[in-house]
């Protein structure tokens, strides 16, 4: 499916930075196509296999949710896309194809052309993501000056427009972060993410720690901006109900792997993986009959030595003997609805197992 770019040969080719030598576009699905992404963190006792063989695509103008409990690797996956991993983290394998470029193969300099200009991120915790000793507006103007080559004055004009766009009074551009409320700070973070007209915005828990009403305001704002500016949005959230409300497609992660992916309707109304089903039940639905929310017994596995079989097997009620030894691949139970479970096959006996090796390998760029 993918056309491979001419393979660089020798040292000269390796030296050439990809952004200086624009090579042919790689054909791929959607705007962002993550294929077989695997990220490890190096620790003294061994490698933490934080993300293993994660694949998903985000089409232009689409919103995709990445959900799971804490420690499932959803933030690591996002940081791997932008190559913002801490020092002990490294992308072991996999490709991140964005708008015809393979980000996984880019140098640090090459990435600096992508970050903010093409892909921006709204960080978790608006309280801590802004510099407390600089005016909020100036912090937003900084990437504009850097990426668009505008003067500070021009950048501040743009910043005022952005403030207006996200619903903060433009007069407040020179306020320090502590003078803004939590919701306003989050709006400022969104303004910053939109500063250079990116094609894709990653929201890393953009509404966690906000009040329900402010959360609704922020989600509405993101939804409105997404439609107005035709943005693609990658939402990372532990809150499945937020994903259900805002996303077109969803990916549920467990222990660094994708366990279920598909449209949000597939995931919520036709959940197949035992983990997804249990996770959905853990969120109260105020419009249904009142019952005690259930919890998933046990703890997620240690990712230094992940279990040989299915990672969810020790906590699963529906396990069979082979679950402990056989690592299940992703099975397509319906068109575009993938499930990593041995039982998934019983849904459709003719569904081809999409094994780990099925991801096309890319070379070059």
């Amino acid at each position: 499916m993918a056309t491979t770019a001419p393979k660089p040969k020798g040292k000269a080719a390796r030296r050439a930075a990809p952004d200086k030598n624009p090579v042919e576009r790689i054909e791929h699905e959607g705007l962002l196509d993550v294929r077989g992404l695997t990220t490890y963190f190096k620790l003294g006792v061994g490698d933490v296999k934080a993300v293993q063989d994660v694949s998903f695509t985000v089409a232009p103008g689409e919103s995709l949710g990445l959900a799971g409990e804490s420690g499932c690797g959803k933030t690591t996956a996002a940081l791997s896309i932008l190559k913002l991993l801490p020092e002990n983290g490294r992308v072991v394998s996999g490709d991140v194809l964005f708008d015809g470029k393979n980000l996984a193969k880019r140098t640090e300099y090459g990435m600096s052309k992508i970050r903010w200009k093409e892909i921006s991120i709204i960080f978790q915790g608006a309280m801590n993501a802004l510099n407390p000793v600089r005016e909020t507006g100036k912090q937003i103007a900084e990437p504009i000056q850097l990426h668009e080559g505008l003067s500070e004055k021009q950048a501040m004009v743009r910043t005022r427009e952005l403030f207006d766009l996200v619903g903060i009074n433009p007069k407040r551009v020179m306020d320090f972060p502590h003078q803004l409320s939590g919701g306003m700070r989050q709006r400022a973070m969104i303004a910053m993410a939109l500063a250079c007209n990116p094609k894709l915005v990653i929201g890393d828990e953009p509404t966690t720690a906000l009040d329900v009403m402010v959360q609704a305001q922020i989600l509405e704002l993101i939804e409105r901006l997404r439609k107005e500016l035709d943005l693609s949005f990658l939402l990372i959230s532990h809150d499945l109900s937020v994903m259900a409300e805002t996303c077109d497609k969803g990916v549920v992660m467990y222990a660094g792997e994708v366990v279920e992916s598909g449209t949000t309707a597939d995931i919520f109304n036709n959940a197949t993986h035992p983990y997804t089903r249990q996770l959905i039940k853990a969120f109260p639905n105020i419009h249904e009959k009142r019952e005690m929310v259930s919890s998933i017994k046990g703890d997620p596995p240690n990712l230094i030595n992940p279990p040989a079989g299915c990672a969810f097997c020790p906590r699963c009620d529906e396990k069979i003997d082979s679950c402990e030894t056989e690592h299940p691949g992703l099975t397509e139970v319906e068109l575009g609805h993938f499930v990593r479970c041995v039982h998934a096959r019983s849904f459709r006996s003719d569904a081809p197992a999409r094994g780990d090796a099925a991801v096309p390998e890319l070379k070059g760029v």
């Binding site: 329900v212 402010v214 419009h287």
Partner: protein
């Protein structure tokens, strides 16, 4: 317990389920704003943060009462005032008919044994240098409850295993850093229940926990309510969690209770526009059932300058002119369901 002095005797008075444990009348908690020297010379008007502004409600024995609202609505201050961690500037809190305000010395200490608190963040609310045993045993030692070491040990072990850390012996001599967030919160709950309290104020006990662990803690609260007869005042910003475990809900806005009543009744039949809006924006794990959201504009106003009339009118989607002038009284809906809005017929 034989050494309890006469003055605190009323505290041990038996109360059966359904009786009123707390009767809060016209409670007011204002915090004065300290201004600079010059300003204080120029203006004579003293300003206050009106955190809790004349509220009245009751807490019944053996129930879980949820105080729900956005940050800054006064729910935490109300909870703290119940325990006298915050002094009320007006009104009265009656605990088993006695005014909490008048407690001092030994009575206050007796009262604190009966009324405990669980804090939001289990990472900061327990001492990292103490073992789990020491943490849970501390309230017993401070209050001189146990006559022997053995009794103390037994009580600690019971509290820890009731809080779901089983077998207790495995946890006794561990340190907080060896435990996960959920386990730490269980330690906090064990510390709160070890004195066999009547009431526990749980201030956002699950806000910093993962979903699955969150549900375990909620279950534990319901279990302890049923088994030990503990009354809970459950403070949360998340109405859906309040809906899951509470018997009654009080919705607060800017220092006032705008709606109070039986949980299922309030959620199924909300009367106050604020409650309606809060319920409408709760995300639901069902993409096919996306509902109309009533999203309020702006943020909760400053509790120093409270809007005239109904304090909710600047953000209210249903406000009429009269709302600017009339401070609404509680309207009886049905049973013990009340809402404070002039538009309710």
């Amino acid at each position: 317990m034989a050494t309890v002095p006469e003055i605190g005797a009323g505290l041990d008075a038996p109360v059966s389920d359904g009786d009123v444990l707390f009767d809060i009348e016209d409670l007011e908690v204002y915090f004065p704003i300290t201004e600079g020297f010059f300003k204080s010379m120029v203006s004579t008007e003293k300003k206050f943060v009106k955190a809790v502004d004349h509220i009245s409600f009751q807490v019944k024995k053996g129930e879980i009462l949820a105080l729900v609202g956005e940050s800054g609505c006064g729910k935490t201050t109300t909870g703290r005032a119940l325990l006298r961690l915050e002094e009320a500037t007006g009104g009265e809190i009656l605990y088993k008919g006695q005014p909490v305000r008048k407690y001092s010395g030994k009575e206050l200490r007796e009262y604190r044994k009966k009324a405990q608190i669980i804090f939001q963040d289990p990472y900061n609310s327990i001492n990292p240098k103490q073992t789990i045993f020491d943490i849970v045993a501390e309230p017993l030692e401070v209050n001189n409850v146990c006559s022997s070491e053995r009794e103390k040990e037994e009580k600690v072990i019971t509290a820890i295993s009731e809080a779901g850390l089983r077998p207790a012996s495995e946890y006794l001599y561990r340190y907080p850093h060896e435990l996960s967030g959920g386990q730490r919160q269980r330690v906090c709950i064990a510390g709160a229940t070890v004195l066999d309290p009547d009431v526990i104020v749980a201030d956002e006990p699950v806000a910093s926990l993962d979903v699955s662990i969150r549900n375990d803690i909620l279950k534990l609260m319901v279990e302890e309510k049923e088994k030990l007869g503990v009354t809970y005042v459950f403070i949360t910003h998340d109405l859906s969690l309040a809906w899951v475990i509470s018997d009654r809900i009080a919705v607060m806005y800017l220092g006032r209770i705008v709606e109070i009543g039986d949980t299922e009744e309030v959620v199924a039949n909300p009367q106050h526009p604020y409650t309606k809006a809060l319920i409408s924006v709760i995300p639901v794990p069902d993409p096919l059932a996306r509902r109309e959201h009533v999203i309020l504009k702006g943020e909760t106003p400053n509790p120093v300058d409270i809007p005239s009339g109904c304090r909710f009118h600047p953000r209210c989607p249903e406000a009429i002119d009269a709302c600017k002038e009339i401070d609404p009284e509680d309207v009886h809906i049905c049973g013990d369901h009340y809402a404070a809005c002039i538009r309710i017929k």
